[in-house]
């Protein structure tokens, strides 16, 4: 117990020690977080009228970002599966960084849901035993369970492994391996349940579609690894923890397969909507070509499709065997899928309305600042976790500094 307090104290001290660059980076993020917090406080006082949402388009940028990020969090399994099931040694070097990313991203998801609430002061109504929990009827109550569960599982695994490493002890398998396997199933569940949020709504034909969960997973397994590839390179450049090319190129292979499946499913969707267009295709028509003279989403979706195609071509060709080509592919896929799942999936679900009205949506400045603040908060958390985790991983921060780091 006393050791643990010492550990926490050392972590705290370390958090405040770093280079000028570290301080500059963390300060910039903190300022962005505070700007976002300010925008949210404004929204809390004035109500959601400060957003671009309406009675007709009643979910917007917050839920769009939430949906996208659940996928990124789920994608931690793309490291866990090769590391623990296929026993790829090189993936063990990085699997912890994937789990830490999942933690930061899940917290972002929870924040995005919270800022979307009209009455955040009543959030306890969602938490048993204080509230009245509509389980199992409401898929949103399932989402509360799976998201918080995923957060706890990953917190447990990551902190247990780090603490063992700090104490220079071999982790006891039974304390974490079962949770690792649980986390695999659980990761799939968070994104599937989030897809079911939309698929379960029979009144919205754009969402009421069995392909949606599969596409969610396929695109998540591109966007998540894309972010990891970029993050791992930053880690190996800015910290003293060596990440080889091998894990990065394993991720490239996984992304390529996932992206091919994603684009195939997109093709299936487009065929169904447009080969023999019914009234149910109105939302897709609005998204891709505009409807009754309204075409607010058209530039967004074609940007997304272009980026997706560029990403796919780069991934599938030798160009991405070079790290520069791979990075370009990652950026293209990440941004493309972010648009596709945000503006491309959430908004058209509301346009046209079930009664046929076309009301367009665009986020306001205040709404955008809240989103930016949450992204900055995620980056802040992940940076801090890496700042503490890297010295533990490479042995420089350890319980008994007098012993050599190699005693493990």
């Amino acid at each position: 117990m006393r050791d643990y307090v010492t550990f926490l104290w050392r972590v705290w001290r370390l958090s405040w020690q770093g280079s000028v660059k570290y301080y500059a980076w963390m300060s910039v993020l903190t300022v962005l977080v505070l700007i976002g917090l300010h925008a949210w406080a404004r929204q809390f006082v004035d109500g959601l009228q400060v957003t671009g949402m309406t009675n007709q388009v009643s979910w917007g940028a917050y839920i769009a970002n939430f949906t996208f990020l659940v996928g990124v969090a789920a994608a931690a399994v793309m490291l866990v599966i090769p590391a623990y099931i296929y026993k790829k040694e090189h993936m063990h070097e990085v699997v912890l960084f994937g789990e830490l990313m999942a933690i930061a991203v899940i917290v972002m998801c929870l924040l995005f849901v919270t800022v979307d609430l009209g009455r955040p002061d009543r959030f306890l109504h969602m938490i048993p035993p204080f509230g009245v929990f509509n389980f199992p009827g409401s898929i949103l109550s399932w989402d509360v369970i799976v998201l918080n569960g995923y957060l706890l599982i990953n917190l447990h695994i990551a902190s247990y492994l780090l603490y063992s490493r700090y104490r220079q002890q071999q982790p006891t398998k039974k304390f974490y391996i079962p949770f690792v396997f649980l986390s695999i199933v659980w990761a799939v569940s968070i994104h599937t349940v989030t897809a079911f949020l939309y698929v379960g709504l029979a009144g919205r034909s754009y969402w009421h579609h069995p392909l949606v969960p599969s596409r969610f997973l396929a695109s998540a397994f591109v966007a998540g690894p894309a972010l990891m590839v970029l993050a791992f390179q930053i880690i190996r450049r800015t910290t003293r923890y060596w990440i080889g090319d091998q894990p990065i190129f394993t991720l490239r292979m996984l992304m390529t397969v996932a992206m091919i499946i994603n684009m195939f499913l997109l093709g299936c969707e487009l065929f169904t909507e447009f080969y023999y267009p019914t009234q149910h295709a109105a939302a897709a028509h609005y998204l891709y070509f505009g409807l009754h003279g309204h075409s607010g989403l058209v530039p967004w979706i074609w940007t997304a499709i272009t980026l997706d195609v560029i990403g796919l071509v780069l991934l599938a060709s030798p160009a991405s065997r070079q790290i520069a080509g791979l990075n370009l592919a990652c950026v293209a896929c990440f941004v493309g899928i972010w648009i596709e799942k945000g503006m491309g999936l959430i908004i058209p679900g509301f346009v046209p309305t079930p009664l046929g009205q076309v009301v367009e949506y665009l986020p306001t400045l205040n709404e955008t600042l809240v989103c930016l603040g949450i992204w900055a908060f995620g980056a802040l958390m992940y940076s801090w976790m890496l700042h503490v985790a890297v010295p533990i991983m490479n042995g420089s921060l350890r319980a008994r500094p007098e012993l050599s780091p190699s005693t493990l």
Binding site: R10, T30, G47, Q49, S58, L117, S138, P352, P354, P401
Partner: protein
């Protein structure tokens, strides 16, 4: 090629972690905390504009409507009346009307007779105290009147913003849509906190003091029947209807969802809904589905009846019918 692995963090930083706190680092930390705190205060400054009484401890601790004792509910309704009086200068009579035994409400609308005058949409506003900027602002009305092209019932090409000099237009017909009080209501199924539910008489209601404002019910509704209070409701003193009830037309708080309740503060009191009373063509028929001799049952048994979006499986208690 990348440099070889160097698995060592800057020894200086780590050394400091192991050493006791010095006066210098303590002061540095304190200064940084002050700057951080100042930033946080500045960020949260808008919260100072929060009206006093906007969120009270009582509000936070209040239980779900169905778990409230009669005394609690009485106290809460008195509080609502106080608040309305303080903020709007009108003291309403806030009541809690329970569903009547042996009653299940149904509504039918004659599409042959409806002329699209939107009197129902306006009457709804007057009755139910929705937020509005002026008398012409019917966005929050629970009724949307669709103008449709003759020849089909095609919602996709409908228009709710029609504004001709005179209705009805020759090549159009009109279809008012409001909450269909579904027997299999998607909105109540998806609500994560059971803030909306079906009452014994079939009315789907919202506990405005329990709703968390997630708007999942609005996404679930196939009839666009729900409205959200994106701001604190705006309504003038003169416009307020003081005959109010807890589950229907009392002034709503900011950030919650509301909807048509078939005017339960009227209909559970033996009156007709406001939209029916105002209809100049007598297109609307309201009554008890469980009473075999009711007019609504006569319509269902003798007219050609149409259910909106039957394919969605919601089983509405709202019906459309035709005269000829």
């Amino acid at each position: 090629m990348h440099p070889e692995p160097q698995n060592e963090v800057s020894p200086k930083t780590i050394e400091q972690v192991y050493q006791p706190l010095t006066r210098r680092t303590f002061l540095k930390g304190a200064a940084a905390s002050m700057v951080g705190l100042a930033g946080l205060t500045a960020a949260l400054k808008p919260l100072l504009e929060l009206e006093s009484g906007a969120i009270t401890l009582d509000d936070l601790l209040q239980k779900h409507y169905r778990e409230l004792s009669a005394d609690d509910l009485k106290r809460i309704m008195a509080g609502i009346a106080d608040k309305t009086e303080k903020e709007h200068g009108v003291r309403p009579a806030v009541r809690d009307l329970k569903p009547l035994d042996g009653v299940e409400f149904g509504y039918a609308l004659n599409l042959t007779r409806c002329i699209g005058c939107r009197k129902c949409a306006h009457a709804c506003l007057k009755e139910n105290n929705q937020s509005r900027d002026d008398a012409n602002d019917i966005e929050m009305s629970y009724i949307r009147v669709l103008e449709l092209d003759k020849g089909a019932i095609n919602l996709e090409t409908s228009n709710v913003y029609y504004d001709p000099a005179k209705v009805p237009q020759k090549d159009k017909f009109y279809m008012p849509v409001q909450c269909q009080q579904c027997r299999q209501s998607p909105c109540t199924k998806v609500c994560p906190v059971q803030a909306t539910w079906q009452e014994k008489d079939g009315l789907v209601v919202v506990d405005y003091n329990w709703c968390i404002g997630c708007r999942y019910c609005m996404a679930a509704c196939p009839y666009d029947a729900r409205r959200f209070n994106y701001q604190k409701p705006t309504i003038t003193k003169e416009a307020i209807n003081p005959n109010q009830s807890y589950l229907s037309n009392r002034i709503r708080p900011k950030g919650v969802v509301e909807k048509c309740t078939f005017c339960l503060h009227r209909t559970r009191d033996g009156k007709y809904p406001a939209c029916l009373e105002v209809c100049p063509t007598g297109a609307r028929v309201f009554g008890n589905l469980r009473d075999p001799n009711s007019e609504i049952n006569y319509i269902l048994n003798n007219k050609r009846v149409y259910v909106l979006k039957e394919e969605v499986g919601t089983l509405p208690r709202f019906y459309y019918f035709f005269d000829k």
